[in-house]
């Protein structure tokens, strides 16, 4: 997930960034689903890997700019950003290394859990159709580039 998002942010080609971001959305949704938050995971995939990716793709096509413009003297912002990134990574490690977690609250079966138990095939079919369509469009976009 981190590698995919890192690639999405660092690649110059906007179409390839979009594809990497799409895979990151998919991975995050699968993580949510695997840990028991099925509705949140599926909503995440449908919203970000589906709707938002299509809107971004439309914007890239509309604007006709396939690549991010090269840097022109804004290196200090890059240095500040890199320093911020290093400090945040160190802070995240120090703070959360010893995080003991929330109290062991027992999970109660909610409506969405019930929906997932009763009608999983509808949601899975939607997911498969959407994923196939998005991967196909994204790959076509990359080839067109």
């Amino acid at each position: 997930l981190v590698i995919s998002i890192g690639a999405a942010l660092q690649l110059r080609s906007l179409a390839r960034s979009l594809i990497a971001l799409f895979y990151a959305s998919l991975l995050l949704g699968i993580t949510f689903t695997a840990y028991g938050a099925a509705f949140a995971g599926l909503l995440h995939i449908v919203t970000f890997a589906g709707a938002v990716s299509v809107m971004l793709m439309m914007l890239i096509r509309l604007a006709g700019t396939e690549r991010e413009e090269p840097a022109s003297g804004h290196y200090r912002f890059g240095i500040v950003s890199g320093a911020l990134l290093a400090v945040s990574a160190a802070l995240a490690y120090v703070v959360f290394r010893s995080y003991s977690g929330s109290a062991p609250v027992s999970t109660t079966p909610d409506f969405f859990g019930f929906l997932w138990l009763v009608r999983p095939w509808d949601l899975l079919a939607l997911l498969v159709v959407l994923t196939t369509a998005m991967i196909g469009i994204a790959n076509l976009l990359a080839k067109g580039e």
Binding site: L9, A40, A92, T107
Partner: protein
């Protein structure tokens, strides 16, 4: 050594700050929106990680993540609309060029 929850929280903080850093340094508004999306992913993962227990995910965390997804998508759609307006007006997606064009 490191639990899943701690790993998620570390990844969440990393994603959030990575997105934030790129938002400030990007030279394309499309990339800025992508960086914003990465920051939203970090927030979602953080909210999710706080609710991870041995018995599964708490209902509160699941609801908070769902709300965050909806709010993030709405803000992102609004940002996309604003970017389209800016592109039609200035003909570029480079924020530095837009600043120069504004004078």
């Amino acid at each position: 050594l490191v639990t899943d929850q701690q790993l998620f929280l570390m990844a969440a903080a990393f994603l959030f700050f990575m997105g934030l850093g790129k938002m400030f340094t990007s030279r394309s508004l499309v990339k800025t929106i992508m960086a914003f999306q990465a920051a939203i992913f970090g927030v979602n993962l953080g909210l999710f990680a706080v609710g991870v227990t041995e018995a599964g995910i708490t209902a509160l965390a699941s609801g908070l993540v769902t709300f965050s997804i909806a709010a993030g998508a709405a803000v992102e759609a609004l940002a996309l609309a604003l970017v389209i307006v800016l592109f039609r007006r200035y003909g570029t997606l480079n924020p530095w060029a837009i600043r120069r064009l504004r004078g």
